[in-house]
């Protein structure tokens, strides 16, 4: 059995995390019948990153988006090639900082998922700058792994 994990950030698809579907030691003379079914390894990069050149990773800080499944310290996978639509979770530039909010195009606002939070309305004169659309979120659930 082998399972290799790679801990450097590589988005171009050059680092592939191989998790074999089947793998068994073979007793001499009699091959495992399962080995014929080993086709491919699952590649998390391929699953999470459709366009490596346009994908960036961002670290979330805070809990205002927890209803959208984004915990504090979550890893956000952001695709800049996607045109943002109403309702998307986006990374926007607000007062010179990146902020993660739900995009409300009808009200021209950035909304937290907390029911109590007021939406941040972008006034007509100001340009709404979107860095990219959040396509996946990776929350760490087990801290002693």
């Amino acid at each position: 059995m082998y399972c290799s994990l790679v801990d450097d950030v590589t988005l171009a698809g050059t680092t592939v995390i191989h998790i074999p579907l089947y793998s068994s030691t073979v007793p001499a003379g009699f091959p495992s019948p399962a080995d014929d079914y080993v086709e491919d390894a699952l590649d998390l990069n391929g699953y999470l990153v459709k366009r490596p050149s346009a994908t960036f990773m961002v670290r979330a800080h805070g809990t205002s988006m927890i209803e959208a499944g984004i915990q504090d310290k979550a890893l956000l996978i952001v695709d800049r090639s996607i045109k943002p639509r109403h309702g998307d979770i986006v990374i926007a530039a607000l007062d010179g900082r990146f902020t993660c909010k739900r995009l409300d195009l009808r009200r021209r606002a950035l909304c937290s998922t907390n029911p109590g939070a007021e939406p941040i309305v972008i006034s007509e004169g100001d340009e709404l700058q979107i860095f990219g659309v959040v396509v996946h979120v990776v929350n760490t659930l087990c801290s002693h792994s």
């Binding site: 171009a12 961002v58 800080h61």
Partner: protein
């Protein structure tokens, strides 16, 4: 048709991608060791910050105008460059990556509207990685370089310049001097001026035969290229280098022989690594130091011959350290040292010499293992002990930005 795409103030633009607070602010980037100003964004240029001048001379001016100053962050620039080249490569057939921030592209024959496609290239790179670019489109490399320059210098072109008709070609050629042409240096330009050839248009009208007689076949090709006749092809596989140089200025003057030997050991090791990257071997090198003596700059050097062709870091480093020990000047401040590998040959096909020793298989396997470990776990994970541990003379990069895209601990943050 070819296109040349390059990033506007590439290094400075990389620094602002993850810093929305820097939008519209002046930014400069310094060379290795925080020595010179090597990149300025539009806002810094507008303030009159000079290019390629020592940082310390302008420190006060930069502080007064609140210019944001950065050390070179090659990890970041390299990653953004790779992304830019991949985006461009996915939109056309062949490409030639010409430098960290420019790329020649061969446009597909099905491209109808070149100007519109140039805009598409520009928009894709801006949208996907936030890098502003300029695009020059023309039938030859020399013309696409010039078109790119026009796209940059003439604001109303909107960053894209297409030279697909004689009228447009002439319009641009008349606007630039011969010095602005790719491959025409200061000396050729001065001699051309003596012959009454001042603008790119003058040179395009010159007789290729005459130019060949006066200069060289390369300059003749430049004339032909300016007239739309392609003489330079896209080079997709870079030629293996004929020489490998690894040299640095120190963050402080070195007076100590041991420290100097450590520095040279490191440069020799890096040079050997580059040599293995191109699968080459060397049997000679030049080791040099720059120092101050009686208020003058001195350069001392020594040519080293090795017993055999090799790319073994240990052999190259040991010989370089011995040589630098010999040219070291007791008591004088040394401010730079370097190693140049010469007479490079490809490892395959190997030249078999009956009477001369070959690099052993053991050495080759050891070097391959070292390279594999360093590739997997980052440069300098494994290195020779002769360079010392945590030396104090290494590169000063006091204003280094985070490696936003290549290190987990440096990822940009978003408030939630």
């Amino acid at each position: 048709m070819l296109a040349l795409v390059d990033g506007n103030s590439f290094y400075a633009s990389c620094e602002s991608i993850f810093r929305p607070d820097l939008q519209g602010q002046p930014i400069v980037v310094l060379s290795n060791n925080d020595g010179c100003i090597v990149a300025r964004n539009k806002e810094a240029k507008a303030l009159g910050v000079p290019d390629l001048e020592p940082y310390f001379m302008h420190r006060g001016f930069l502080a007064k105008h609140r210019v944001h100053v950065f050390s070179s962050n090659y990890e970041l620039y390299g990653d953004i460059s790779r992304r830019m080249m991949n985006i461009l490569g996915s939109m056309v057939g062949d490409t030639e990556v010409y430098s960290i921030d420019e790329c020649f592209l061969r446009l597909l024959s099905t491209t109808k509207d070149y100007q519109a496609f140039g805009r598409e290239l520009k928009d894709a790179v801006l949208q996907q990685i936030g890098m502003p670019t300029c695009v020059g489109i023309a039938p030859t490399k020399t013309l696409s370089k010039l078109a790119n320059r026009a796209a940059k210098k003439i604001p109303r072109l909107g960053g894209v310049c297409t030279l697909d008709t004689d009228v447009r070609r002439e319009w641009v050629l008349r606007r630039f001097g011969t010095r602005d042409i790719w491959g025409v240096g200061a000396r050729i330009s001065a001699r051309l001026a003596d012959m009454g050839i001042h603008t790119a248009y003058d040179l395009a009208c010159a007789s290729p035969k005459n130019i060949r007689k006066q200069f060289s076949v390369m300059t003749e090709r430049t004339v032909r290229e300016l007239n739309g006749e392609a003489c330079f092809e896209l080079e997709q596989q870079p030629e293996p280098k004929q020489q490998i140089i690894c040299s640095r200025s120190f963050s402080r003057k070195i007076h100590d022989r041991v420290e100097l030997r450590q520095a040279v050991s490191k440069y020799a090791e890096r040079a050997a690594e580059k040599l293995r990257e191109q699968d080459g071997l060397t049997n000679s090198m030049l080791v040099f130091v720059d120092l101050m003596k009686n208020g003058h700059r001195w350069s001392r050097q020594r040519l080293v011959k090795l017993d055999m062709h090799t790319n073994d870091s240990r052999v190259i480093s040991r010989a370089a350290m011995q040589a630098v020990g010999e040219i070291f000047q007791e008591g004088e401040p040394h401010h730079k040292a370097g190693v140049i590998l010469l007479e490079l040959v490809a490892r395959k096909p190997e030249q078999l010499h009956f009477f001369t020793p070959q690099q052993s298989d053991q050495s080759r396997r050891l070097m391959a293992s070292v390279d594999a470990v360093n590739q997997r776990f980052g440069r300098d994970t494994l290195h020779l002990a002769s360079r010392g541990i945590a030396p104090s003379w290494t590169l000063a990069r006091r204003m280094l930005s985070p490696a936003y895209t290549t290190r987990w601990e440096d990822l940009p943050r978003a408030e939630c």
